[in-house]
């Protein structure tokens, strides 16, 4: 359980990193938080000859809230994004999801960009990016490109990142008004990868009835699977306790879960139904206008 030998590079600027990555081509691998890559090395499931450590590039360590949403640099840790008050206000789904990513200690080092590039179909942040229709900014020595979530994830642990490319940042756009979100999953233990789960967004119309509902699933497809569930719940009153099971059934017909040591495909399909109903209900509740602020509670 020791990592294989490799040559270590520690650039201090993005320009330097892109230079090294261009030279190394397919021989080089980026090392960010190391919370997925180092276990793979320790188990000898990956044997890259060169690692390019980006932890000494301070210009990549940022979380910025802009008019369109939240931009997260490649060196921003999960924990930093989770605590960021502005990011939570702009895109509440970020914190809702991050609380389910591994354990607090792993979140101290793991990066949100690294998690997205790693493209684990059971991971939360790729699903968040997919649900929101976010983008990934990629840079190579001679070219920059921005890729939408729908084109970014190609398969299990496979993104469209090419040899020599560095992911600089991801952008999570914010959602329209009267939209609520939720992340609901079932894991064997809190902090473990989910057996199945989803990020959901519900938008209400002026009468506070469902106008639009969609979800992105983890653990039940090779990539984060986005499903439009509007047809099953259009017009449902968000305030009412009405059952959301119809949406659950629609989702069940869309997913292609696989069996593994932890759960059968049938059980995962069952979970999709139950969790979908739960997540949509929660998201719809959060889309309701907040009751007026309590005057006595306001701080000067």
């Amino acid at each position: 359980m020791k990592p294989p030998p490799f040559t270590y590079h520690a650039p201090t600027t993005v320009g330097e990193a892109l230079g090294v990555l261009a030279e190394l081509g397919p021989e080089g691998k980026v090392l960010a938080g190391g919370q997925s890559l180092i276990p793979l090395l320790n188990m000898r499931l990956a044997v890259p000859p060169h690692l390019v450590d980006i932890n000494r590039i301070p210009e990549l360590a940022y979380v910025r809230v802009d008019a369109g949403g939240v931009r997260v640099g490649a060196l921003a840790r999960h924990a930093e994004l989770e605590r960021h008050a502005g990011a939570y206000q702009a895109v509440p789904l970020l914190r809702q999801a991050l609380q389910l990513v591994a354990h607090p200690v792993i979140r101290n080092r793991g990066t949100t960009v690294g998690s997205i590039v790693h493209a684990d179909p059971a991971a939360e942040m790729p699903a968040v990016l997919a649900l929101l229709g976010g983008t990934v900014e990629l840079a190579r020595k001679d070219r920059r490109r921005t890729v939408g979530a729908a084109d970014f994830f190609l398969g299990p642990l496979e993104s469209c990142l090419e040899p020599g490319e560095l992911a600089l940042a991801v952008h999570f756009p914010h959602l329209p008004g009267r939209t609520g979100t939720a992340f609901v999953e079932l894991a064997r233990r809190h902090g473990d990868y989910a057996l199945a789960g989803l990020a959901a967004a519900v938008t209400l119309d002026e009468d506070l009835r469902v106008a639009h509902a969609r979800a992105a699933y983890v653990g039940v497809a090779p990539v984060p699977l986005v499903v439009d569930l509007t047809d099953a719940v259009r017009g449902v009153s968000a305030a009412g306790e009405r059952s959301w099971t119809l949406a659950g059934r629609l989702a069940q017909s869309e997913v292609q879960p696989e069996a593994d040591i932890h759960a059968t495909a049938e059980y995962r399909r069952h979970l999709v139904g139950v969790l979908t109903a739960r997540a949509l209900h929660q998201a719809a509740q959060r889309a309701l206008p907040e009751p007026g602020p309590d005057r006595t509670e306001t701080t000067p």
């Binding site: 359980m1 020791k2 990592p3 294989p4 030998p5 490799f6 040559t7 270590y8 520690a10 190391g34 919370q35 180092i38 276990p39 090395l41 320790n42 188990m43 690692l51 450590d53 932890n55 924990a79 591994a102 354990h103 607090p104 200690v105 792993i106 101290n108 080092r109 233990r189 809190h190 902090g191």
Partner: protein
């Protein structure tokens, strides 16, 4: 295969600077244990699951089996050896573990102690639920979680009492402070 090159690094651990030469693939956990002789940091799984190897890196808990020693150059690392005072007086968290029987075989203990030391600095008055969340990434093979949770809550209490005493001893402020501090500690 070529002989891997060695990196000359300076690691600051528990306030002491150590100079050593390591291959890039040396895990921080192995560097602490084998190169620096600080065997208080324990290694269980080496893939981030058990939490035994947790140390503080710049005050934040991190898995030392998921960091290379070269990555820790320039960081302030605190291991379980660094939690007690220089004269050997155990820290509040360590004392609470002894008091509440949070120690069984002790293999997982260094990880729990480091995680809780950082956690109680951030959250001095945690609920039981928050403690459970804070230690959710640490496995105890002796499965004595009940006493570990009790120890964490007791440690929070000791720390609040100590803080109250410090304020009383300092004796400055508007005069009402010691009273308030004592009340808070008692809650």
């Amino acid at each position: 295969m070529t002989v891997p090159e060695l990196h000359e690094i300076t690691l600051r651990v528990n306030g002491v600077a150590y100079r050593t030469r390591v291959p890039a693939r040396r895990l921080l956990s192995d560097c602490l244990r084998h190169d620096l002789g600080l065997t208080g940091t324990h290694v269980g799984c080496e893939h981030g699951v058990c939490g035994c190897c947790t140390v503080l890196v710049d005050g934040q808990p991190a898995r030392s089996c998921l960091m290379f020693a070269v990555m820790a150059e320039g960081c302030e690392v605190t291991t379980v050896e660094g939690l007690a005072a220089p004269d050997g007086t155990l820290s509040a968290v360590q004392r609470a573990f002894a008091e509440c029987h949070g120690l069984q075989c002790g293999f997982c203990t260094p990880g729990f102690l480091t995680v809780l030391t950082a956690f109680l600095t951030e959250n001095p008055k945690p609920t039981e639920e928050e403690v459970v969340e804070a230690i959710s990434g640490n496995l105890c093979r002796c499965t004595g979680y009940q006493n570990i949770v009790a120890a964490a809550l007791r440690a929070a209490e000791i720390l609040r009492e100590e803080r109250a005493e410090e304020i009383v001893a300092a004796g400055d402020g508007d005069g009402a402070e010691p009273e308030r501090a004592r009340e808070e500690a008692a809650e």
